[in-house]
């Protein structure tokens, strides 16, 4: 049975992903986790704040999942993004796929995160000690 999990959540529990992606016909699982990095251009980040246009974000994530299933022979797929304020080292996004052999899930995983970052209406604000910056807003 093919299974897709698509969610926007307050907090990401990374320990669930193995059971979410494991599958009797899958010999490989590939997962990418994005987390909060302490420095941007040598400036210390206090936290990141994520805002989403949830109905559209879930729709776009569903399209990405469908595209991945059409490109690769996958058994299961997870696309999950966090919203709200996240501190250094906290997970903010987790994507992954499982497939019979590793090459499909590796390629799919890269596609999932790259396309999510490119298209899904989620915005990240960097909170520094003295200022805040919406990432990618200005050239």
């Amino acid at each position: 049975m093919k299974k897709i999990i698509i969610e926007i959540v307050d907090t990401i529990d990374t320990s669930r992903v193995y059971s979410e992606l494991s599958h009797a016909q899958s010999g490989g699982i590939c997962v990418f986790i994005g987390s909060v990095r302490e420095f941007t251009n040598k400036e210390a980040v206090v936290a990141l704040e994520f805002e989403t246009y949830k109905t559209m974000a879930l729709k776009e994530m569903r399209k990405i999942a469908d595209e991945a299933f059409s490109k690769w022979d996958l058994n299961k797929l997870v696309l999950r993004h966090a919203t709200g304020i996240k501190k250094v080292e906290e997970p903010v996004v987790i994507v992954g796929a499982s497939s019979a052999h590793r090459s499909e899930c590796f390629e799919a995983c890269r596609f999932l995160i790259d396309t999510l970052k490119d298209r899904v209406p989620i915005w990240k604000k960097e909170i520094f000690r003295n200022k805040t910056v919406w990432v990618s807003a200005h050239p």
Binding site: G34, T52, Y53, V93, L116, I122, S136, A137
Partner: protein, 80 residues
Amino acid sequence: MDVLLFGIAKDIVGESRLRLEGEHEDLLSVGQLKRFLKRKFPEFSNLSSFAVAVNSEYAEDDVPLGRNDEIAIIPPVSGG
């Protein structure tokens, strides 16, 4: 017509929902809405780009805007 605002677009306008009443009946398409926003809030011109979503789908400039559509301004996305 209500326009939903997110991210930096919300900061530029100063609210999360922009209400456009009768005097904006000339806003018939996505392209016209974008031009109106750049005129009324010049900071929109300083963004890397911004898109408009109609009923939670990315919409090109020639897509018409209806009174009952859900319209949103999508500044450059930065998830992940």
